[in-house]
Amino acid sequence: MNKQEHIAIIGNGISGVTLARHIRKNSDKKITLISDESPYFFSRTALMYVYMGHMKWEHLIPYEKDFWKKNRIELIHKRVVNIDVENNVLHFEDNDQLNYDQLVLATGSVPQYYNWPGQHLKGVQGLYAKQDLELLEEHAPHHQACQRAVIVGGGLIGVELAEMLHTRDISVTFLVREPYFWNTILPQHSAELITNHIKKQGIDLRLSTHLKAINSDDDVKVKSVSISENNQEIPCQLVGLTTGVRPHIDFLETSSIAINKGVVVDEYFRTNVENIYAIGDCAERNYSLGHRPAIESVWYTGRIMGETLAQTLCGNPTKYAPGHWFNSAKFFDIEYQTYGWVFSTPKTGNAHFYWKDEEEEKAIEIEYEVATQKFLGINSFGIRLRHEFFDQCLSSNKTIDFVLDHFEQANFDPEFFGTYYHQIKVKWQEENKKANA
């Protein structure tokens, strides 16, 4: 019997683990999964629940320890410091090394900082890795140790961090650069809805506000932050920098693997080095694909990339074809789902239809093509929608009328919940009448 090909995967996040599982499903290849963050795959998306006391760390491990042995996936809990691409060898921090036949980079992201004065101080941190959660326990264990935290950056991680700190009775000031929360992605009405919801929780949300500097008395520990707009100083014991993430590729800079913002890959996730691939947050596509950004730092796409590359590595070369865009999030108590594309301002030739129930804090926003009435995408707040329904609507170029006529089928809320299709439809018809009059 021939010696099985050895595939080494750096990174045991959702991309790397999905890849390993699917390679095992389809082949007998030798698989090694390497991470310096955590010995076992864990659900990054659930880190917040450990801090809030909804879950324990052990609950974040989806597979029992047997799983890796049973599936013959070798685990290495070490840091890779260097890749010798000529000889196909990985060098670890402890001078150990590992030979591979194929290498996959799935190293994910690190928090992105923008060179603010004082960003190195103790008490300043992002929220991405397991280690960040451990830091947070140290910096903000309770409101006696941390009376106020300042969060910088109005995105999904920022609002999670706000919710987390809020449960420990820590006052939160939330600095957002845009006029409304997540306004770069959400259209104004719905950004406003979320903005109001965050304020209602008791979060001191400051819109159109920029961080100027992080201050300290002793150049060790954070004391306060200063704001550009009015030079105001806000005393705080924790600064959460949640201004986005960037690919985790610093250790590749000396290698001959081509990098730009991320590891540059083609539609098969191939890098410039023949037997090296990259997937997930750390990969940057060298071609365009619909409206998708070149670096997709989204949990779901990481998983899809893992599924796809497994095919290629098992002898079935498969291009990245992720289907229709979807995503989800939760802003305190408001669940958000999106299918297809809804932009913060409609693209040329498109328009938005917006419906909301102010009191119930529920809303939907649909982007459609004006000339053809073609349905392009939907944002939903506080109403659960069926993925399969919208995937089919998008694939078969349905109109917005069709979608609203069949909204009952799209509903995924629990049984006995209130339904809104009638109200939504009435509003659409009224707006249409006005437009045609």
């Binding site: 629940y49 809030m52 909804h54 879950m55 989806p62 326990e137 264990p141 498969t318 305190f332």
Partner: protein, 526 residues
Amino acid sequence: MALENTSFTGNAAANLSNQQKIFLFTGFSGLFITFIASFNAIQSQLAVWLAVALGLISIGVIGYSRELYKNTMPGIKNDYVFFKSLTNRGIWAYALGIFLTGFYVVLYFYPSYLGLNESGENTGLVALFDPLSKWLSGNSASQWFVYGVFYTLAILLFGMKFLWKYRHNKYQRLRTFSVMFFQLGFAFLIPELMARLNSDSFALPYYDLKNIWPLNYYNFEQYRVDEFISAGNIGLALLIFGILSILVITPILTYKYGKRWYCSWVCGCGGLAETAGDSFRHLSDKSIQAWKIERWMVHLVTVFVVLMTMAVVATYLGYDAEKYWLTKPAFLIGSTILLTAVYAWVLIYKREAFKKDALIAGGGFLALIITLVSLHLIGWTPHLFFIEAEPLRASYGFLIGSIFSGVIGTGFYPILGNRVWCRFGCPMAAILGFQQRLFSKFRITTNGGQCISCGNCSVYCEMGIDVRAYAQRGENIVRSSCVGCGICSSVCPRGVLKLENDNPNNRLNENEILFGNKLNLKDYVQ
């Protein structure tokens, strides 16, 4: 600080507000009255003292719950669940567990300590409840009446707490109203009032109509059947209802709605688990090992209850052929044919739904039953299952009826979670689960590719189902143990899970590649 072994700093205990402390004190004062009553400290004005005690307990629980939720926004707020001693197997959890198990031991085995006196006037705690019992049924209280009052009160009060906690979720609210209604009406008031109809010439057995055999394992014992028969048409109707309940009504309702129609909407054990036990639901063991133990244990109990009931019924049919139109051979042969038919149907139509060990174990038990029934009918064995029915009945009553469902099932809430009995021991749940797994429209649908593997669903599943394992693969959840409480769907932060009754043919959707991906696997296979 490593996350694996932290006992986080979240200072939960200190978070009690003054109002909460007052309501806690109020509730415990009520309990304290019942406690001193147990030592005969209360001799007069029993009705007043009882009203004061129950009133204080009620005010305590309701007030405490209100304080707990009044400043929160509607939504899932499981904050601090794993920091609190009571809900994270800390010292308070063990203290409560010991108190509850102690109470059950006294209740089942030493009711005289509660003041029960069957030959004269009650004393102590039971006497405290005499006025209420006399007012309802006309009879003196028993230890079971005392238990029934506490049980019903627990479901009503903690039900109100649950209603507050889930005020944003209509499914949870309706389900909770339902268990509160069935407990108060069917389990408590109706049987008590039915007792008023009894006279010297007419007596109905104490019958909680929603308590179906085999959960109500004693329903077909001779004294009850005799009482049913001697109570004329009403009694006969009740007896027929009892038989139809398990053979006709449960399969139909489970087909339409899944076993949740019973386990989390009607059942008293489920009702207590969902209300008073709600704070402990996350303690259920989710390991594959626990699942293995569950499958064996709950089905062994089911076999036990079937054998025991057959033996008990056969005994009295045997010695009084005049009194019952059903003869012993007819009963035994009929039961055996029914069991054989179920097994044959599974083998022919539902084979793929079972693991091999389940088919073999099922076949083994069936072969054993057929052999023993045959041997007995041709007269080779004096007793149906080698031993007399009475020790079989008594040991079931002791081991399963008392120890498992009571002492362990409820006493261990704070340690093992709130559905230990339902999951590992309840034969009714096993039969409904069998129906649910094989023919039902019910499933929990996974919403395409939206699962983020966070694991809230698995943690808060009281039945120990690793919901995430299915959801992250995009598969629907069709498990015999699922009681359809809907909490997985409620705690899901991304709207991934939905309890549904739909076409039974497309319940299982095992995909290789998740939804939201254009990959076409068929190309690969060909």
